[in-house]
């Protein structure tokens, strides 16, 4: 009897490989089923070739006997309808070492999440309990409780080289130094600015660890943008669930006369919020190829809405000639608006095939970006005349600086996007622009943390 597995037939193995990978693409047929069907196919081939067929013919006949793969896939889908809903946490018991690896992954992630929670509580051991009077300490160090753990997760996962590791370590040490070295007024404006900008500055370190050796490539940084968006969504979902959980916890202990509020305030929320960052990151990593990305879906939903809103705002402004009643603090709201528009643009880019030709959605994006630019220009113009009489407080300079950084990004994006729409340049230019711009945010945040206190005299 001809036994192909004793003397492996290269051509046959290739054909079977092809057939297998074709079958694997069917969502309803999992790899255990593929293995079962492959065993069937091989036995059929063995039988047929021992009956005198060439392996080629035997393969064709065997494949034919397995039947139409579309019909088969439908049959599998009917029997395993749950498989059409991609499951995440309950990882399929696939062949190979994949489950073991994902278990280790989960263990490391949960370990680091616990470590982040412990880090939050550790200062209490050294006489800095989470009570009134110590807010300043906790606010300044908030990002340092979490981001080193998150970076550590990617350092472990990506096996970061020692050279890069030293830089990452240096970044966190520098962050620790600058969070403490200046004699800033507790909970003053400069200290709040430091607390807000430190995570933005350090997010770059997370990115370097996340993308590892691919940080130099557009694709690597783009993956980090995708990761950040998904992380935000997962974190928001976990936070929502955490809120519900907390509500029930308070309610249940209240009915037996115990006030759980102090526990919630000093343990559950701080530790939970810190640990959830690592857990959410692990979930994003684990599911990236399993579940559709959410950020681009939300982008599709909200791009038309925001574009309509901004166009309506500008048109009303233009036709009614209404004056602009711009409070000086409103520029912050416009920063927020630009961040949202930038987010919509980024996640549309991240999900777009750069080779696809321009379509109606691209026009919508350009309308969105241009109208946001105009709205922001109006706001800047309204505030610009009076900004000097208000004086340059640290807050105002920080807000203005962020606005200008976003404005520059969006303005050049609009130029590149319009060129693409007119067929004068490839879409990849926009992708490159956005990914190259990433360090700018961190550099600005670093300036706010390091330079502002000096310039504004440690207020």
């Amino acid at each position: 009897m001809a036994t192909p597995h004793n003397a492996p037939d290269r051509a046959l193995e290739d054909q079977i490989d092809q057939w297998r990978s074709y079958l694997r693409r069917r969502q309803a047929i999992q790899s255990v089923d593929v293995a079962e069907l492959e065993d069937h196919l091989r036995e059929q081939i063995d039988t047929l070739s021992s009956a005198g067929l060439s392996t080629d013919e035997a393969f064709l006949v065997a494949v034919k006997r397995i039947g139409d793969l579309n019909a088969l896939s439908r049959e599998f889908a009917r029997e395993h309808s749950d498989r059409l809903w991609k499951q995440l946490v309950d990882a399929p018991a696939d062949a190979g070492d994949a489950p073991a690896r994902s278990r280790t992954d989960a263990a490391v992630a949960i370990g680091l999440a616990v470590a982040a929670g412990v880090a939050v509580k550790a200062p209490a051991l050294f006489g800095l309990p989470m009570t009134d009077g110590n807010e300043s300490f906790y606010v300044r160090h908030a990002s340092l409780f979490v981001l080193p753990m998150l970076t550590g997760y990617f350092v472990w996962k990506r096996k970061i080289a020692a050279g890069t590791l030293r830089w990452l370590g240096a970044a966190f040490v520098a962050a620790l130094v600058f969070a403490n070295v200046y004699p800033l007024a507790p909970m003053g404006a400069l200290q709040m600015l430091t607390a807000l900008h430190l995570p933005i500055a350090l997010w770059l370190a997370v990115g370097v660890a996340y993308a590892a050796e691919r940080w130099n490539q557009v694709a690597g940084r783009m993956d980090f943008i995708r990761f950040s968006g998904e992380l935000f969504i997962y974190y928001a979902l976990i936070a929502f669930g955490g809120g519900v959980f907390t509500g029930f916890l308070l309610m249940l202990f209240k009915i037996i006369g115990i006030d759980a509020e102090p526990f919630v305030q000093t343990w559950l929320i701080p530790c939970g919020a810190a640990g959830a960052v690592v857990v959410a990151s692990w979930l994003v990593e684990a599911k990236q190829s399993v579940i559709e990305n959410m950020a681009p879906v939300l982008t599709r939903l909200f791009t038309p809405l925001f574009a309509t809103l901004l166009v309506a705002f500008l048109a009303t402004l233009l036709f009614t000639g209404r004056g602009i009643n711009m409070e000086r603090d409103m520029l912050l709201a416009f920063d927020g608006l630009l961040v949202i528009v930038l987010g919509l643009l980024l996640y549309a880019i991240s999900a777009r095939d750069p080779r696809a030709p321009a379509g109606p959605f691209d026009v919508m994006q350009v309308v969105l970006v241009v109208s946001a630019l105009l709205a922001d220009a109006v706001a800047l113009w309204a505030i610009g005349a009076r900004i000097s009489e208000y004086g340059f407080s640290p807050n105002r300079v920080a807000v203005l600086g962020m606005n200008i950084i976003l404005l520059v990004n969006l303005a050049w994006s609009a130029v590149v996007y319009i060129r693409f729409l007119r067929g004068q340049g490839p879409f990849a230019v926009l992708e490159r622009w956005q990914t190259n711009y990433l360090p700018v945010y961190s550099v600005w945040a670093t300036v706010v943390v390091i330079v502002f206190p000096v310039v504004f005299g440690f207020r």
């Binding site: 036994t3 597995h5 059929q44 006997r65 397995i66 039947g67 019909a71």
Partner: protein
């Protein structure tokens, strides 16, 4: 002979359970046994057996395990469970009822059927 899909689907459960009641087996061998027992009358599309096996597994009529076969490949073997044997008995009862009814119909009613094998020779089933 082509047997219609619904009949194949309906009869697959008792056939597979009966074969597994003989001894533990795996997909390919089950198909071979079906072919042998039906003398080639039942032609299943090979792949379609597997969703059936998975359904029986889900219902608890059979259990499955992966084992190394004599060829060295991993192979999924199925074994009938007690519930599966009870189901087989139940199926057997129902099919015997259907079979008996049909037998009665073929023999006691006077109907004219289109010929099966010989197109020009119409024949009539007379009352016994």
């Amino acid at each position: 002979m082509e047997i219609n899909k619904d009949l194949i689907a309906a009869s697959s459960t008792p056939i597979v359970l009966a074969i597994l009641a003989e001894e533990d087996s795996y997909g390919y061998a089950i198909l071979m046994r079906v072919r042998e027992l039906s003398k080639g009358q039942m032609e299943w599309t090979d792949g379609m057996l597997y969703p059936v096996l998975h359904r029986l597994e889900r219902l608890g009529h059979v259990t499955a395990r992966w084992e190394n076969s004599e060829t060295g490949r991993k192979r999924k073997y199925y074994r009938i469970t007690t519930a599966g044997k009870a189901q087989l008995a139940e199926e057997q009862r129902q099919w015997q009822a259907v079979n008996a009814t049909l037998k009665g119909i073929w023999s006691s009613l006077s109907i004219t059927l289109a010929p099966i094998a010989a197109p020009h020779a119409a024949f009539t089933l007379e009352a016994a």
